[in-house]
């Protein structure tokens, strides 16, 4: 979290990215590696057409999953962090479940929850849930007891403590956990969208383009998925900078 990425740096990064891509296209010189000059016009046009619909479908699934994970993991994490007795009971279980790659539950979730969007959202939410649960729990447990007592002495009960202390205290950690887990979430989304749906970038990239050898269109899909990851990452990153402002020593 050192510096904000400025516009100039972003432009240089993009130019390098496309230059390397173009170089690879020249070197490999096969249909599976089209030039960005061929892909970008297709991307520009289809993002406002067919591809746009798939983009929206994928975005909606990720956002719903993030929402679901946050509204369940934050209260549970706060509860566990505040009540060491209960935390001691569940800590071993969480330690075991946390590192399991949640995508292995994909078939189980499909069977149990059906093949609707809900099962895909649930799977992605599951990944983010554990990331947030763990950081919120630890953040709440590490709050200075004197700080809590002092705010209690101002009259704060459980609800006000949650609103004015626990929630804002864990917000930076929640955002960091989200930023870190959003990449995995999109990777899992890509896999989950390859079957049992006709919308989403995973479906577009694999079924609509790759399997029928429309490689330039496939790359437009890959670009769209990258864009989704990139936008989410930087939105969260900027929120993090905002809520972490107080940590800077300099007056602003």
């Amino acid at each position: 979290m050192s510096r904000r990425l400025n516009a100039r740096a972003a432009l240089i990064g993009l130019l390098m990215f496309f230059a390397i891509w173009q170089a690879l296209a020249w070197i490999i010189h096969r249909p599976i590696m089209p030039s960005p000059l061929q892909v970008l016009p297709i991307f520009g046009v289809s993002l406002f057409g067919n591809l746009g619909v798939h983009f929206l479908a994928s975005s909606a699934r990720v956002l719903a999953a993030i929402g679901l994970a946050v509204i369940t993991a934050v209260p549970i994490g706060l509860g566990l962090g505040q009540i060491p007795r209960i935390n001691r009971i569940f800590a071993p279980l969480i330690a075991i479940v946390y590192p399991i790659p949640k995508i292995v539950f994909l078939p189980v979730i499909y069977v149990l929850m059906g093949i609707t969007d809900i099962s895909k959202i649930f799977l992605i939410a599951l990944i983010i849930f554990f990331q947030i649960l763990v950081v919120v729990r630890d953040e709440a447990a590490n709050l200075h007891p004197e700080l809590i007592l002092s705010v209690q002495s101002l009259g704060a009960g459980r609800r006000a403590l949650f609103r004015y202390v626990y929630f804002p205290a864990s917000l930076p950690a929640v955002l960091t956990a989200l930023r870190v887990s959003v990449g995995t979430a999109i990777a899992v989304l890509f896999i989950a969208e390859q079957s049992l749906t006709t919308y989403g970038l995973g479906y577009y990239i694999v079924v609509e383009t790759y399997q029928v050898l429309r490689y330039p269109e496939m790359y437009a899909g890959i670009l769209a998925m990258s864009l989704l990851g990139l936008v989410l990452y930087f939105v969260i990153y900027n929120l993090e900078l905002k809520v972490n402002r107080y940590r800077t020593e300099e007056p602003n």
Partner: protein
Amino acid sequence: MIAINNLTFAYSGQPPIFQDYSLQVDRGEALSIIGPSGCGKTTLLYLLAGVRQPRAGSIFIDDKLISRPRPRSGLVLQDHGLLPWQTVRQNARLGLTIWGFYGSDGRHAPADELLVSAEADQRVDAWLKKLGIDGLRDQYPLQISRGQRQRTAIARTLAMQPDLLMMDEPFSALDAPTREDLQNFIINLHLESDLTYLIVTHDIEVAVLMGKKILVLQKGCNRETQIMDNALYGLMEYRRQNEFLQKCDDLRQLLGSLT
């Protein structure tokens, strides 16, 4: 104003700090509480503030049993208890914000006072000004000095217009001018508005300067405690008089005899 009756308190798994302990404090009193570390000074403030509950016995303030924090009691802890993510002004307003959050329900906030938001802002700004930190209102606690944080915590408490102010080591780690400034401020407040205050300290001179009565706690279990009278408290000139030094010596001897 304060009546502690047969109080017993122990932290879990530890021997009691207070056993069958009783104490009366009158309205308008200025009480210093001194004793070696671990003697229960801070715990006594927690109990009076209602954030810790006695094992046995009872505490009454203004004839009301204390089972939870009382809206008109102000507590300023040693590490100030400021929220690091809020500005000085937001921190100073926190108590009133919490009152607003609950409305005047008589439990979390006083039933007899409902502030609209603008009044709360005004009151907070007035205290920031009186304490000389209105220029820092948009800074965060990490960006200001210890003394300024202490003032912010005091402003937060005073904005709630307490009739009982309890402070834990309020002057430790402050430089001499800042310390004297704050001491004068609190003494004047006490003299002008009949504010009752309790100040916990390990510093003999602070205890003698600030306490009309000085309560001496001992290490181990407190059943009976000694109280020294100190009528000349509060005057800065007192510091330079022989009586002050004599009182400090008396207190030092009393503390020495207890350990």
